[in-house]
């Protein structure tokens, strides 16, 4: 006997195309022009902040930085879709998500200056930036379990890259979410490159969204440069997660227009013509086309917005650069108490005054 025991499929969704035309049948009912202007401003802010952070790194005023340029739509759109009680779980490139969710800019900049103080203000509804690829995914699944267990009514949005879907932790996490039925929305930011390895070398699967099928949950693909499309898909998935404890995997198709991090040179492995191909698909340009067409946006408004945003960013940078670290504090957050053996190391460090640069070293 032979019979088909499973059929699976993945839908692709785009609401606003590259020319700023909206597919009315798919447009979410709660999106109006005022909200589109807001989304436009948030994406523009994200791009300006990203450029600033990159320039700070180039001037030696920040440590290694992971630029997000090109990915504004998927980050802003997904963050905009979250409810106030929802959590998100980042990897290391979700600066725009943090920004939209109200993370204080100056504190965020401290992370990129190399200080733990920039990771997470108490009570902020996210987990910490996570550098080892995909290891944040089980955290997100467990956090979603807690949301359900404690009957909070909230859901969890997790971010992982295309390369991250090759990691065991990615599958282990969505598999757990499928089995335990928790309110998890896992977003695969498919920006086509994991440092120097292209998407087609990560997996022979035609979509990354279909990896959800192996975990028994639904996977969907969306134009990641379409802020309205991303908003719609994430909002629907969150609604389903909150009301029916159904997890979803969302693959957002986007492109890393710039570097993996500032320690990287993509010209070594990536053809310029591929980057050129993605330029017309820019997430911000298509919304501007829409707004201009409708007479809702012009050069003057653009300039006013850019000036105001730059001022806000510069103020945050100024504040962040005033921060003075106290090396004593690194001993204080290892445990909930300071064990005697660690106290001895602390005391020895204080006695030797090891954090005061010696005079000769300064010269």
């Amino acid at each position: 006997m032979q019979k088909r025991v499973f059929d699976g499929s993945v839908d692709y969704i785009q609401v606003m195309d590259e020319n700023g035309n909206i597919d009315a049948a798919l447009a979410p009912s709660d999106i109006n022009d005022q909200k589109i202007i807001e989304l436009y401003k948030l994406m523009s802010f994200a791009r300006a902040l990203d450029a600033k952070a990159l320039s700070l790194q180039r001037q030696g005023r920040a440590v290694t930085y992971a630029p997000l340029v090109g990915q504004e739509a998927e980050q802003v759109g997904s963050a905009y879709a979250m409810g106030k009680d929802d959590y998100f779980v980042p990897n290391f490139r979700q600066h725009a998500v943090f920004m939209v969710r109200g993370f204080p800019l100056d504190i965020g900049l401290l992370y990129w200056r190399g200080f733990e103080e920039g990771v997470l203000p108490k009570g902020f509804k996210s987990l910490a930036v996570c550098v080892p690829v995909a290891t944040q995914m089980p955290h997100a699944a467990g956090l979603a379990y807690a949301m359900k267990f404690k009957k909070t009514g909230a859901a969890v949005v997790a971010y992982v890259g295309d390369g991250g879907t090759s990691e065991g932790d990615f599958y282990e996490a969505i598999n757990f979410a499928g089995v335990t039925k928790v309110p998890l929305v896992a977003i695969i930011e498919n920006n086509q490159w994991a440092i120097s390895v292209p998407r087609n070398q990560q997996s022979a699967a035609p979509t990354l969204a279909q990896k959800a099928i192996a975990a028994g949950i639904q996977g969907v693909q969306v134009d990641g440069n379409d802020v309205i499309g991303v908003y719609k898909v994430v909002k629907d998935a969150l609604e389903k997660a909150r009301t029916t404890n159904t997890p979803t995997v969302i693959e957002v198709l986007t492109y890393r227009m710039s570097l993996h991090t500032t320690a990287d040179d993509p010209t070594k492995y990536r053809p310029d013509k591929e980057v050129e191909l993605w330029k017309p698909r820019d997430p911000i340009a298509r919304v501007r086309k829409y707004l201009v067409k409708k007479g809702l946006w012009d050069e003057k408004k653009e300039q006013e917005m850019a000036d105001a945003q730059l001022k806000q960013i510069d103020d945050a940078v100024e504040k962040a650069e005033k921060f003075t670290p106290d090396p004593r504090t690194i001993f204080e957050h290892v445990y909930s108490f300071i064990p005697q053996t660690l106290q001895d190391e602390y005391d020895a460090a204080v006695a030797a005054n090891f954090w005061q640069p010696k005079q000769q070293e300064q010269e």
């Binding site: 733990e116 997470l120 108490k122 910490a128 996490a173 053996t341």
Partner: protein, 321 residues
């Protein structure tokens, strides 16, 4: 109640689950099967599948989801079926569980108890007999506990459930059912970070823990040695003071552990004694430990693990120095 270590831990878990409504057990076969050693027996019936989770078979996920649960305000108590399999979750433990408080400047605290059976001597398959206490202690940020009696197992586990820190709770398989002991029915705490001087003595100090505690006790008794025996109970943070006080009093120290000799926990203890008490010693510090290679198959384990004979020889040798 009169109980072995399995019963004491089961009872402690029961009391923790009763006291803390956000406490959950998760792991492979911890539900219906009650764990492969029956440590969680009966708890699924009592607390239901939301609080006693038979998870999919994935150790990294077990610890990673436990982290998320803890960050979400729960008290996860994951069980890793064997110490060897725990290495599949080492990335989660070392990169995340151990560092989360420091990384977030205590904005996120991770109360959690990671339980796993450790050490050998019970003729099981490969990867079921490792003694990884040095691995987990070396990372920092984790509390590492290893009881040697039913009484300590229950008290340390209950204490761990009241802490705001992740605790790696190592349970010596060999001692699970080796003997029974009278243990109070109610909840009580055994201090974490405090070693137990289980026998006073003047001629030498023997520092040990886990499976080696009964081995040392028997060797001391057979030799009629006037030895002070310290059961560490907590590997990290180390109760340095109790060790140094005893070393200074007796002038001779033997460290006995089942983990391999080289780069083992004995090296850390010996180094601290050398730094802080060397001029009060009458003999070099001695270490008795398993050989410096991975745990052999069960047919050879008796030649690998330190036995009473080896400890008795060390006692003789250190007294002749």
């Amino acid at each position: 109640m009169l109980t072995n270590m399995v019963g004491a831990i089961n009872n402690a878990l029961d009391l923790i689950m009763k006291e803390n409504k956000n406490a959950v057990l998760l792991g492979e076969d911890v539900g219906k099967d009650g764990g492969v050693f029956r440590v969680t027996d009966g708890l699924l019936d009592k607390y239901g599948p939301e609080r006693v989770l038979d998870t999919p078979l994935a150790e990294s996920m077990i610890i990673g989801t436990a982290l998320g649960m803890s960050a979400g305000g729960m008290l996860p108590i994951p069980e890793i079926q064997f110490a060897g399999f725990m290495l599949l979750s080492f990335s989660q433990i070392a990169n995340h569980v151990a560092r989360y408080r420091a990384r977030t400047r205590s904005a996120v605290e991770l109360p959690m108890i990671i339980r796993t059976p450790v050490s050998g001597g019970v003729r099981t398959l490969e990867h079921h007999s490792d003694s990884p206490e040095a691995l987990y202690s070396h990372i920092g940020g984790l509390i590492v506990v290893e009881p040697s009696t039913p009484y300590d197992a229950k008290g340390l586990l209950i204490k761990a459930s009241h802490m705001k820190d992740p605790v790696v709770f190592l349970e010596p398989t060999k001692l699970y059912r080796l003997f029974k002991q009278e243990v109070p029915d109610n909840a009580y705490e055994v201090e974490i970070g405090k070693a137990n001087v289980i026998q006073k003595g003047d001629d030498m100090t023997i520092v040990t823990w886990g499976t080696m505690v009964p081995v040392v006790k028997n060797a001391v008794q057979k030799k009629g040695a006037n030895a002070e025996v310290i059961d560490l109970r907590t590997i990290n943070p180390l109760d340095e003071q109790t060790i140094l006080d005893s070393a200074k009093k007796t002038g001779r120290v033997i460290i006995v552990h089942e983990a391999p000799l080289s780069f083992g926990p004995g090296a850390e203890i010996a180094a601290r004694i050398a730094e802080k008490a060397i001029f009060e010693l009458d003999a070099p510090v001695m270490r008795v430990a398993s050989a410096s290679f991975p745990y052999p198959f069960p047919g050879y384990e008796q030649y690998y693990i330190p036995n009473e004979q080896k400890v008795m020889e060390a006692i003789e040798k250190i007294m002749s120095e």
